[in-house]
């Protein structure tokens, strides 16, 4: 066989392989999709449907991304920062030119369930359709009716700014072939109705695992059931494991306290800060008591991870410098023995937020300060001042290492590098 012929055959083979792969990828992207029928005539939504749609839209925290800072409700424009570039949330208001005004309920359902836009374009999974795919058709219709009822805002969508090749539909098709599969919530008959409702909310609209799960190099989680904790890309806040007793498991709490945390942002055991403040503010505080209780039931039943993580290789030791810094900057609120003040300043002694393996959130809180959200149940939260303008990185490291090693706390020290990285990320 001449070399020309060999190269020709190899080339032909390569073309066939690529064509077959492309065909498989294309098929994987539309599997399970029924063709859209003729647009159904719009039926006026009932008051019940609108109210349910609003509650579900809140439960999905749509406004967390689709309302820009200071912008009009659900009119889009906020940049979702990802390691691959920025994805800009779209306008969900019923404006005909720039929003969802010309969408049908079928197209809205296809976006939620299959992750495709009105035009058929594949959507980026920054829009958490790997979770929303579990929303029922009836609930999707209620959400659609609700977003069609809010004030229309004319605001053109902003083009995403993603690095090559992530901005291409082909790359997205491959990602979806690897990691996305349309799914439906199926009740587990061995569990209570309340647990099943919780599972539906946590895995679906709540999209809790979008933060509380680690992501691989291509930004995919290990599935909607995985709530083992993860570092939130770009923001570098650590969303703790909701299953691990060392992190944020609520299995041992009175259920009432879990409901209280979701609805008010504060519970006797601690309160939310950072990105979770926004989630409580925009989403979980609006849950009905029944839905908050269902979420709590589901979260409390999460099985603990199979093996408890090993004790830290190195435990921080309280240093004189750390103690002095604590006395200067922290003791007035958090107390001589890290005991805090109930409902105002959190205890640091015995706090899992202090001792869990990742120190990312501690560094964030010391540098940036923060408030829990103002909610109906906690309208006037107490705040922590930002220390970024006051403390050097080495001081923050000494201080946190002291806190992680005092009053019975036993956790690894925090390094100056840990602090420097967090500061570089936010300033």
């Amino acid at each position: 066989m001449s070399w020309r012929r060999r190269v020709g055959l190899a080339g032909l083979g390569a073309i066939v392989v690529v064509a077959v792969l492309a065909g498989v990828v294309a098929w994987l992207n539309v599997r399970g999709e029924a063709p859209l029928g003729a647009p159904a005539p719009r039926v006026a939504a009932s008051a019940e449907q609108l109210a349910r749609g609003e509650a579900l839209t809140r439960a999905g925290d749509c406004t967390g991304c689709h309302t820009a800072r200071g912008g009009r409700f659900l009119a889009g424009g906020r940049a979702i920062e990802t390691p691959f570039g920025n994805v800009f949330a779209s306008n969900l208001t019923p404006d005909a030119e720039t929003g969802l005004g010309r969408w049908s309920a079928d197209e809205f359902w296809r976006a939620l369930h299959h992750g495709r836009s009105k035009s058929g374009r594949l959507l980026y999974p920054a829009f958490p359709y790997p979770n929303y795919t579990r929303v029922s058709r009836d609930d999707a219709d209620a959400m659609f009716a609700y977003v069609q009822s809010i004030p229309a805002v004319t605001r053109r969508n902003v083009a995403h700014t993603l690095a090559f090749p992530f901005g291409t539909q082909a790359a997205l098709a491959i990602w979806r072939a690897l990691y996305f599969r349309p799914a439906e919530h199926v009740d587990d008959p061995t569990r209570s109705a309340e647990w099943n409702r919780g599972a539906y909310l946590v895995e679906g609209l709540g999209h809790c695992n979008a933060c509380h799960s680690a992501r691989n190099a291509l930004g995919a989680t290990r599935g909607t059931l995985d709530l083992q904790g993860g570092l939130i890309p770009v923001q570098n806040w650590y969303a703790p494991s909701l299953a691990s007793p060392r992190e944020a498991s609520v299995a041992g709490w009175p259920k009432h306290d879990v409901v209280q945390l979701l609805k008010t942002g504060i519970a006797p055991q601690g309160f939310v800060m950072g990105p979770m403040s926004d989630v409580v503010l925009n989403s979980t505080q609006h849950l009905s008591d029944a839905d908050a209780a269902a979420m709590a039931t589901y979260l409390q039943a999460l099985p603990p991870p199979p093996e408890s993580e090993p004790a830290p290789a190195e435990t921080a030791r309280p240093s004189a410098r750390g103690a002095a810094l604590y006395k200067d900057h922290c003791v007035a609120c958090h107390g001589e023995r890290g005991e805090g003040v109930p409902k105002a300043y959190p205890a640091l002694a015995g706090s899992r937020a202090v001792t869990m393996r990742s120190s990312a959130n501690l560094v964030h809180v010391v540098l940036e300060g923060g408030f829990p959200p103002s909610t109906a149940g906690n309208p006037r939260p107490f705040g922590m001042p930002p220390f970024a303008p006051v403390l050097q990185d080495a001081d923050v490291a000494e201080l946190l290492s002291f806190v992680r090693a005092s009053w019975g706390n036993r956790a690894a020290p925090v390094s100056t590098l840990d602090v420097a990285k967090a500061r570089a990320g936010r300033e």
Partner: protein, 211 residues
Amino acid sequence: MAQRVLACTGCHGPEGRAAPDGYYPRIAGKPAGYLYNQLLNFRDGRRSYALMTNLLAPLDDAYLREIAGHFAGLDLPYPASAPVALAPADAAAAARLVDEGDASRGLPACNACHGAAMTGTAPFVPGLLGLPRDYLNAQLGAWRNGKRVAQEPDCMAQVAKKLAPEEIGLISAWLAGRPVPAGAKPAAAFAAPMPMACGGVATSGAAGAPR
């Protein structure tokens, strides 16, 4: 309330008296409406300072109004202003801009809105005395280059864009060196109609987007 807002006084000084570093401004005794508007502007991204924006992100309008009212209600003496050395000609030029403006450029006098004694006008217009030179310089500069934005119509942006950078430097230095009168309080009302329309004054009660 002071216990709830220790997050503010870490930078703005005990009771909001201003920090010694000459940047974080005094907030104690500023008009309540002005402070409330600034809190909204930071939270909603019109003013750009990441620490403030992140801090305020989870707080609602009602609580921000209460925080503004708390600091506005603090009546604390001002420290003596540090004297600022300006050449007589520069000081005269600065004083003329502040007291008279420049009609040929459509520049109003500062005291037309900020009070005859430049101690502000309740409830929306802040005083200009007792503020650090660096802070004044940075704010006027930020308005001039669009980094600080207020509600539309943004009168201070229009004013700052009519000023030359050297004039901003002179005005900041001159204002920072003026003594604050004893018992300084914002004027109760404007002496004459405002020379410009200002969104922060007109849309006083406007809340942000539904949240």
